[in-house]
Amino acid sequence: MIIMMSERLLRRALGYLRLSGLDIDTAVERSVLDIVSQVIAEEASRGEPIDETTAFERLMAQLETVFTLPEPSLPPVTPVMERGSIGYGDVA
């Protein structure tokens, strides 16, 4: 059970980091493994079956603390506004 849970946590953590634009190298993998082990240990120490949602919440919180995710470069959606009005030529 714990092994399956660890796999799920690991897969999700690595997926999140990869999709966030982080290069997954050995150092990253090692850090993620540490985080997953820590999350599992903390959850198991309560002596109750591991709640998946709580485990994922802990995992995501840890990831945000440990890793600095690359800020995606986002284009400006619109230029600076230069307001004008529409006129009606029939008003003499």
Binding site: Y16, S20, G21, F56, T78, I86, D90
Partner: protein, 678 residues
Amino acid sequence: MLRRSLLTLVVFGQTALGVAIMRHVLPYQGGNGVEVALLALFAVLFGWISVGFWIGVTGFVLQLAGGDPHGLLRRHPRALLDATPLARTAIVMPIYNEPIARTLGGLRAIYRSLEETGQLEHFEFHILSDSRDPDHWLSEKTVWYQLCRELGAFGRMFYRRRPINMNYKSGNIADFLRRWGRRYEYMIVLDADSIMEGGTLVDMVRLMQREHGVGMIQTSPAIVNGESMFARVQQFSSRLYGPMFTAGLSAYQLGEAAYWGHNAIIRVAPFMAHCGLRKLRGFGPFRGPISSHDFVEAAYMARAGHEVWLEPGLQGSYEESPPSLVDELARDKRWAKGNLQHLWLLLFGRRLRMAHRLALLNGVMSYLASPLWLAFLALTTVATARLVLFPIDYFPVPHSPFPVWPKWNPAWALGLAGATVLLLFLPKWLALIEVMIRRRSAEFGGGLRLAGSVLLEMLVSALMAPIRMLAHSRHVIEGLSGMKLRWAGQNRSEETTWREALVDQAPGSLLAASWAVFAWWLDPLFFLWSLPVAIPLIVAAPVSVVTARVSVGRFLRRHRLLLSPEEYRPGAVLSAVAQAQAEVGERGDRSAFVHVVVDPVLNRLHVATTRDYRRGVKSETIARLVLRCERDGPEALSPREVTQLAQDRAALETLHRRAWCAPSDSYWGRAVAERIGA
């Protein structure tokens, strides 16, 4: 002025002659009410086709002469034009639930083409979306982001979606101008299927820079990318006959041309100052927002003292055709109502120039001609029925002591019919002759195939004319009766099914069959006269299905029939569109919202470009929607509810966070697993 006076003189003279002959063809020589009405309708319809004929002939002559010496482009030597500095120009593409790969793929090709001219720095691109379906506009925004990254177009390509659609496409453009209009000297308006070469865009700006009195320049877009037989027929006629008719039209309109709504450049300041569209204050269909805006905007621009030009010399401007007759007629329904609305402006618009009132009349007649033709057919049936079924009336003129004997002049009737056919078809052969003289027939498949293609196009046109006539008549009646207009994106790819065609065409086919039987019963000669209209209507469903088939279009292309120069030798920008279409990802299904929630980068993009709408009661509604969406997924919500979530920054952030914490067997757990490829 001289040109227009001559055209008027020739058309009126020709129409008067036609009416005089028609009068002799009628048995009582216009001696009763039915025949007077017939003559009046004939005069309008004959005059209408005469205008088209002489515009075609003028275009033919001008093309042989190497173009119109008074044309805008010919005023400026090439070297002078090339040395003209450019000014900041917005390229705007209003879209409404359009196929994303095609529209934004087209925009990518235009961007690349403009980049190659080395003048990209003067242009900015604006995608103006009115799309309503949340998955669709979320996909549009995602593809816009991908394009920005791919093209390096950060700060040069923008995306704006109006949360509320008001006043159709013109409202979308007005919304853009209110926000950013003052930023630009010029605006080039594209349609969702527009393609323009970079060099053409640059030339348009340079022409505007040299001609300060010009408010708009309209190019004449050629139809391209036709795949079905229907689209390829339209494409062929647009490429063979289009340039000739455009040259003729431009020669008469000169600086008082019309704006066709896209593939045109507009001087922004006068457009903003004078071309706002007030709601109509009439009754029924003549009340409310103007749905067909382009002709009216051109009329207002001219009223403000600016010239509007149609410039046939500006090549590299393209658009697409609806793929089938059914789609064309669905589009025509909107256009018919829009053009009929112009009747109000034509009659009551203040200080409009005569040329633009005539342009409005031209638009109205494009649709009104159909019920007039239908009325003409109905009256000929009545006249024949009266002659056959009722005793001969020797005294049709009241209080006249002189009897009138009904007379038949079959030779005159044949002559008149021949003249009408000539007016309709001779310009097409002139266009073919022009291509032959210029030794360009290879671009259309070669001399023999070109002639065969013209014959095929004429056959298809003749088959479709009565179907269009009946449909347009219905559109006019619906439009004038004030039926509600439904604004929908255009189908640009699907074929017509048999069921669709039968449902659409069955009433017309039944009517035509009944009419033909009645005609036979009245008089076999009248039956023969009815056949050119009755047969196309009876076979409307199969014609509609077969012409919508892509396989038929491809078969003809393989045999080099209906070939167009762009098919013979595709230009760089058109090839780029085809490539972009294949490469630009299209989602537009229910998964777009899921991707925006799950994907960290997309989520950040949408969060960063979305406002925080949470206020008071709305905040509670959104909180409830977030809970429902978290529990059951977006499929459990209506499109409107998904839109509410997609428009709310905090909702997107919350859902993203919760999705990544969702248990593996939940909706969002599965969505996350799918995204990371687990």
